[in-house]
Symmetry: C4
Subunit: 231 residues, 4 copies
């Protein structure tokens, strides 16, 4: 079942080491089939060079395995909670990519310091709070998804306009309309995490990008008046 | 038309990822044919691994497409304004290369800290101001070219002696006598942006290069008394 | 003798440059055969691209060569001391990997700043003291092993829960149940050394990971209740 | 003439980009034949991927070309001065490698912060002064060699025990018993320049390596009691 989606998810997982976002198996990509309310995700702890499209695991929105011989990623419940809550999300990526993780460990939102950020994220990429002991005991991975939702709701953020988050002390999650765009958003988040850190190191008084330029750059690539690319 | 120039521009675009200056399609190179007052530029948002020389787009100095099935880079009007204003420019490059972008985001000129810089840029690489709301509304990309011209004119800089600029909050543009040298200038700007940042981090009191050594290094590679290379 | 172990040790040594942990021959991996109380280690100063599995040297726990035409790594006595003292250790790695060495040179323990660290190291990775003149004269490499043991005993650390150490002013050693996992622990130590340095640079007040999240991450990958991977 | 030396110098020049020490043609390696008092050096500004062993240029100790169709590196007089003055030097390398150049631009000696440094350099790697206007006018490249000699003589340094120098505001030179070991010393200098910068960034009070450990590490690899490697 969902053979084409498995192929897409498989390829998107291989893109993680190709873009330098993961070492070993420290990352996972999933993508959803909205019609069947099922998603496809990488198996847990399987090396990328031995993985096949048929190793991908099919899971429902409560995190139950529907098809697959292997155990799905241990982060599967986080993916499930996000797919269930946000109908717009088509693909999700989790990595421990270096520079985004640095911001997560610093416990800081990534501010909009330039147009590289503005082309993809319409505002700061938020950093969550730490999970409580109770949340860890209840179900760490599912509660991780709920803390992401809480963060976006408390701040009134549009999940597709800011397609990524930093889990405090942990690492980033990004998402998108499909697996490929979720990976691309991880690449952008990693790069702007690096640039923005060093911009502030170089000039402690470096300004955030003015709202008018954030608007211009985001809107020339997104929405009905976009004019970037071939359509 | 302009088949040889298309090939050159195509190759120069491929050099961007080869030198680590771009991820995905975040960059563009163009080159001009002065006789016909036309330039050739990369199409917008086309992946480098699928791009062919024949995909390059021919554009006039007002930014109108003269030949090509694809839409040209969204930054085309910036290139057009620069070609129209400066008769010496043969090729132009725009990237979001990491370290040059860090300086652009910090809003600072890149000072001459060493001979690597002096070999190519005869002075600091300037950082522009932000565009105003009015300029954004008038035509963001063309006005970007005009802000570059304003920056060079206000400072009395020779466009070919300092073949690059940082757009504040955005990223670098470089140029040269042709597409290949414009790419080379991007490589140099990226490298000195990294070196100069860390030289100041290591020693906050690090001096700029004395004028006499800047003169010596620039002039042994450029101008009538140059003695670097094979001719 | 120990042909399979030689092959494993050979492959693990080749993994060092593959993961960017060594330049030239600046590193060595060994693995032990507990039944015979012998270990296999890389020869000293042999280039990786000329090395063969049969070049691996067999050594006893007192550092005497038992089989092999080449001289073993000059760090062999350090490996011998650790294998003799700790029955749990199956493989040992020594590199001068950049970021872990930075912490060794700074003379600081690597604190637990995030879950990437917590997934592998159950607490800070300790930095030893410098060796004394007397220890250097007695036998530098063997005494290096004894200073590692002293560090773990003084702090009451479990050698397998914190499978790595920084030698002050020198570089890291890591270990594991076999050569492969010792290499993996070197990769993790290198990565968290980089992340943790920049997390503190970005936010001088960045907190260490709360104990509850350290517990959760370490224990979902290690021990009887682990649920990461395929078994 | 000197065909084998040309081959060695050619290979050593190719090693520069392989080890990430140069971009484009920003570097040069030479090696000397003491019997004939001639040295072989890379031609100026020739791309590495088009260069052949027969393109290497033979030069005497006064910098005159003895054989070769191409012009030698513009830095040839610096090499000539060093070969003429120091009978021990067999090969010389000049690069603008990133991290060593950062220290040169910062105008600081690279202190001995760890054993990676001590394994190769028996003390700090010195940074010269800037050249005067008079020296630039007299002959910039030859005077550069004389400023290196001045630096080593004023400080009483052994040229083979500290086989490298930083030219203030410029970049490193290294040397060795032959071209290959000169390149290796450039690799080490680049790596310790990076490590030592970040060790001090991480801990502003990080100590230099105690003399006793510097002695131990340098002398286990160099001199009559060395016991590293296969002989």
């Amino acid at each position: 079942m969902l053979e084409q989606l498995k192929e897409e998810v498989f390829q998107a997982n291989l893109d993680l080491p190709k873009h330098g976002l993961v070492k070993y198996t420290w990352g996972n990509v999933s993508a959803v089939d909205r019609a069947s309310r099922l998603f496809v995700i990488k198996p847990s702890g399987v090396h990328y060079d031995k993985m096949k499209p048929s190793d991908m695991v099919v899971v429902d929105f409560d995190g139950n395995v529907v098809e697959g011989d292997l155990r799905p990623s241990s982060d599967t419940p986080t993916h499930a909670v996000l797919y269930k809550h946000y109908a717009e999300i088509g693909g999700i990526v989790h990595t421990h990519s270096t520079w985004a993780t640095v911001w997560a460990q610093a416990g800081l939102d990534v501010p909009v310091m330039g147009t590289t950020h503005a082309d993809t994220f319409y505002g700061s990429v938020p950093c969550t709070r730490f999970l409580t002991q109770e949340e860890i005991d209840t179900g760490y991975e599912a509660e991780t998804g709920r803390v992401i939702i809480e963060t976006f709701e408390q701040r009134g953020l549009d999940i597709m306009a800011v397609p990524g988050v930093l889990l405090k002390g942990h690492a980033p999650f990004t998402w998108g309309k499909d697996a490929h765009s979720a990976v691309m958003n991880s690449v952008v988040l990693e790069e702007v995490s690096k640039m923005n850190l060093f911009a502030r190191e170089l000039n402690h008084f470096a300004e955030e990008l003015p709202q008018r330029i954030l608007d211009k750059h985001y809107l020339r690539k997104h929405g009905k008046d976009a004019y970037y690319g071939q359509k």
